[in-house]
């Protein structure tokens, strides 16, 4: 509750709404005590006095009544009627919703059918029908407005109650012999009250507007009694000659409803957990770049080289260092595997290359990505866009989420091509069919018109690959493309990628957590842990003789066919959280060879044996050395 209030206070607009609303309510409450003229005493000699004239601060209306006094009394009445309607609607709606949700079954069915019927009306028609039956009058307007809002509450509260009715504590209460009414009052009601309050805070503005509207039409409060709506309705005939009589009550309604809406938004935001976590912000077209320190220069003629890449997630006051200085490179025809546990930063590394890390919260804070000598980090959007999908393409995990659900795969392929090449529609379609064939999709001519949800997981992944191949790129970055697939399909996809690499001279960066996949496809492999590379080298060497304790522990987790006697050893402990990285080796806490030295200093990635690099002060000996 306290944090809720402080959240509300932090939202300045909501606070403003609260203050304005507080003032209005206060004024309405003390109206009878204020030294005001009688709101209903007419004085036709003084009619249509302009505001700020003597004796009438806001002027007078068509019957010479003091507008300030009428405004305050009208506000009092409008607020009272609006609040009363809200309370009546909330109480009855909640009661209906709780009964429907609690009893379920046929009761629920009948009640909710009725509610649906009521909601099939444009709300004012129902209100008009009720007023027509009961006759014009403020009380009847109140009843009408409350009645048309009951279905809204009933439906909301029913939804919540259904969720609660199947919880264990309700069952426990039943078993302890409590009556249904007692269960509803003591167990269900306390849990739905917050929802009722939120629903009320979002609808009370509407209720005030609606009752004012009915009064405006002449169906609500009857003269001489006046709420804000009927003041406005009476002033309408003098709109052109004396606009102030209309502006005064109209502006008051606007102020009240606006304050309530601001407050309601604030309440809703304060209670929405997604907003608190910042999860509702949209990723920008490219990742934000705020590089500190010197930017590494391009060296050699490597196709794609990452140099000291650092990417962070900045959520509120916490900084998660997802990638903490990664060097990688890949050349034409080469396949580089990047392996690590979930959260090791391998995907973020891959997405950083083309600025695809969701931002906010992602920020690239250092390093460079050189594509043929040109730095992609901080490159202008248009330059990145031209390379994306054309020279450097991605294959993502889970193709059901990564393909657009409402476009056919053909359209998505055609778009990939036409983003970079001015093909006409028929050419592009033929090309799309060719692409589907090249990834061995049967019936490509028909499949091109399928939607993603009509395909199997393996087929969708092939579409993902076809999309990556659409413009014959030089580099493909594959982010766990086979993780969601079963083993046979996985093997097919891997051999497909392998063929493509050999045929087309593709460079592939293959992100995975599976050593079996690495062994099958990759020339070199880099092992990541807590955002850094802990070991890198030719696949053969590392598979035969891992030098970093983490690599060997990771490999020990992989079951091997036909070697049933070896024990599978899970790595004890959990990877460190990357917002609180320890000093020194991040693996120290889980390492069986840990010494005090490991924790005291930053350990460099150092050459180790032929072509290997390892970030460890006590690496396992190389095989040759071991053999001697």
């Amino acid at each position: 509750m306290k944090s809720f209030l402080s959240l509300l206070a932090r939202n300045r607009l909501a606070l403003g709404g609260l203050i304005v609303m507080g003032l209005v309510v206060l004024l309405a409450l003390i109206t009878p005590l204020l030294p005001l003229a009688d709101p209903d005493v007419t004085n036709t000699a003084n009619r249509f006095k302009t505001p700020f004239s003597e004796g009438a601060l806001l002027g007078t209306d068509h019957l010479g009544r003091d507008l300030l006094s009428r405004l305050l009394w009208g506000t009092r009445l409008s607020l009272a009627v609006g609040f009363a309607a809200a309370i009546v609607a909330a109480t009855l709606g909640a009661a209906i919703g709780i009964v429907a949700g609690f009893y379920g079954g046929r009761t629920d069915n009948i009640i909710m059918r009725g509610v649906d019927m009521l909601m099939a009306f444009p709300y004012i028609l129902l209100a008009l029908a009720i007023v027509a039956a009961l006759g014009p009058g403020l009380m009847n307007a109140l009843i009408a407005v409350a009645a048309v809002n009951i279905p809204f509450f009933a439906r909301n509260i029913r939804g919540i109650t259904v969720g609660i009715a199947h919880k264990e504590f309700i069952d426990a209460a039943r078993l302890s012999g409590m009556t249904d009414i007692r269960i509803i009052l003591t167990e269900v009601l306390p849990n739905v009250i917050p929802v009722i309050v939120i629903a009320m805070s979002t609808t009370i503005g509407w209720m005030i507007l609606e009752t004012a509207g009915l009064s405006f039409l002449g169906l609500g409060s009857q003269p001489p009694q006046a709420d804000l709506g009927s003041m406005l309705g009476e002033a309408r005939s003098a709109l052109i000659t004396n606009p102030h009589t209309s502006v005064v009550p109209g502006a008051m309604i606007l102020v009240i409803v606006m304050a309530i809406n601001l407050l309601g938004d604030g309440v809703r935001d304060a209670l929405d957990p997604r907003l608190k976590s910042g999860a509702l912000s949209r990723p920008m077209p490219t990742t934000m770049v705020k590089r500190f320190g010197p930017v590494p220069a391009a060296e050699g003629d490597t196709l794609l080289a990452l140099r000291g890449l650092k990417t962070q997630f900045q959520v509120k006051d916490r900084i998660y260092k997802a990638v903490g200085g990664v060097d990688l490179q890949v050349n034409p025809g080469e396949c580089l595997g990047v392996i690590g546990e979930s959260g090791s930063g391998k995907s973020v590394t891959a997405l950083s290359v083309m600025g695809l890390v969701a931002s906010p919260p992602g920020v690239i804070t250092g390093g460079a990505v050189h594509y043929k000598g040109q730095d992609l980090i901080g490159a202008p959007y248009e330059q990145l866009r031209k390379l994306r999908g054309d020279r450097i393409a991605y294959i993502f995990q889970d193709p059901l989420a990564t393909l657009h659900p409402l476009y056919t795969v053909g359209d998505q392929l055609i778009e990939a091509v036409r983003a970079h090449h001015p093909f006409d529609k028929t050419e592009a379609r033929a090309h799309a069919i060719g692409l589907l064939k090249s990834v061995r999709i049967p019936n490509a001519e028909q499949r091109v018109d399928s939607y993603p949800h009509e395909m199997s997981g393996g087929m969708r992944q092939r579409v993902g690959i076809a999309m990556a191949l659409a413009n014959d790129p030089e580099v493909i970055i594959a982010d766990e493309p086979t993780t969601a697939l079963d083993v046979t399909v996985q093997a097919q996809i891997l051999s497909l990628l392998d063929d493509l690499r050999r045929e087309r001279g593709l460079a592939i960066i293959f992100i995975t957590h599976d050593f079996g996949v690495v062994a099958q496809l990759c020339d070199r492999v880099a092992v990541m842990y807590a955002g850094r590379i802990v070991e890198e080298g030719p696949t053969d060497t590392i598979l035969r003789a891992p030098a970093h304790p983490y690599t060997s522990r990771l490999m020990a987790c992989v079951p091997e066919l036909g070697q049933g006697r070896r024990e599978l050893a899970a790595i004890p402990g959990l990877p460190p959280v990357v917002d609180k990285l320890p000093e020194g080796c991040a693996f120290a806490d889980r390492c069986h060879k840990v010494t005090d030295d490991c924790r005291s200093r930053n350990i460099e990635l150092a050459a180790h044996g032929a072509g290997n690099k390892v970030r460890c002060i006590a690496p396992e000996p190389q095989l040759q050395e071991a053999g001697q």
């Binding site: 099939a120 009306f121 008009l128 027509a132 009961l134 405006f216 209309s246 990564t402 393909l403």
Partner: protein
């Protein structure tokens, strides 16, 4: 598709029944004797009895309902005593005017609302987003009848850009340009609130969609950001925006009652308010049932549009 439309039409039948029952029950709540209510307290007992018989009010409720329903299905909505005219004729005449007003407002609020929501989401926390958010807040807080009055004051009386009220000029040709100049202010005033609501929901729907993986895929393909927002994201967001449009159509239809009063628009809303004040129950009853039924049919059209947009809906 035709099968789906038929299916939805059939499923509307119980809803239409429900609507007629609700209206009937509400009208049966009229305190006292309806005939006395119609004829006033000075009516002679003979006249009251005769009217009761004419209206069929001497029969039991259930029987009365089915007689009323049967007559309605044959196009007989009864006779309005205040206008001395068939209810259906009057409703049909008036409904055309309401349709022009509400239809225009609906198109306006859909276009502006969605555009504002998309721009707001694409520029989240930017200047455009803040400006739109503020405008939306103002729009959903201002009573449409007050807005309409202020618009008359400024654009019709002070600036003389548009006529003050009515649907047609009193003298002069009843052509399209005359209609448009008369329509502009009321349609805008009516569209404002719904524009705000649609903009709000479009913004949050877009924000939700923009975080999806397939947006990242589109960007990874090198699709231009403009197309990522307006085609990839908006298309997916439309799946959650379209139902909101259906609901808002009901609000536009409701708001039309106020706007028709403010602008002296000869629509159903004004007819209903007049009928209520004159206690012309049959006219109210017929008008409400007719408009509600049209709204139910409109919502079926919304569902059909939804199914055409989203191939995952089984048709």
């Amino acid at each position: 598709m035709a099968g789906y439309i038929l299916k939805r039409l059939i499923s509307a039948i119980p809803v239409l029944f429900g609507i007629s029952i609700i209206v009937f029950v509400i009208m049966a709540m009229i305190p006292g004797d309806p005939a006395t209510a119609i004829l006033g307290s000075y009516a002679t007992p003979e006249n009251v009895e005769k009217l009761n018989r004419d209206l069929g009010l001497d029969k039991p409720m259930v029987q009365r309902y089915f007689i009323w329903l049967g007559n309605m299905l044959q196009g007989d909505f009864g006779r309005s005593f205040s206008l001395n005219r068939e209810v259906l004729d009057e409703v049909l005449d008036r409904f055309g005017a309401t349709l022009i007003l509400a239809g225009t407002a609906f198109v306006l609020c859909s276009l502006f609302g969605i555009a504002a929501g998309v721009i707001s989401a694409a520029r989240q926390y930017g200047l455009a987003d803040k400006a739109i958010t503020f405008a939306v807040l103002l729009g959903i807080s201002i009573p449409s009848f007050f807005l309409g009055m202020m618009m008359i004051l400024i654009f019709a009386v002070k600036l003389r850009w548009f006529p003050v009220s009515g649907m047609w000029p009193i003298y002069g040709a009843r052509d399209l340009s005359a209609l448009i100049s008369h329509l502009a202010l009321p349609a805008l005033a009516l569209a404002v609130v719904a524009t705000g609501v649609i903009a709000r929901l479009s913004r949050s729907a877009m924000l939700e969609v923009l975080r999806q993986d397939f947006i990242r895929t589109a960007r990874a393909k090198g699709v231009h950001e403009r197309s990522v927002i307006w085609s990839h994201a908006l298309r997916a967001a439309m799946v959650s925006i379209i139902p909101v449009l259906g609901v808002q159509a009901g609000f536009v239809l409701s708001g039309a009652v106020y706007i028709e009063m403010v602008f002296q628009w000869p629509g159903v809303g004004r007819m209903l308010v007049d009928a209520i004040l004159k206690r012309d129950i049959l006219l109210v009853q017929g008008g409400v049932v007719f408009v509600a039924a049209c709204y139910v049919l409109f919502n079926i059209a919304v569902d059909v549009a939804q199914s055409m947009l989203d191939p995952r809906i089984k048709t």
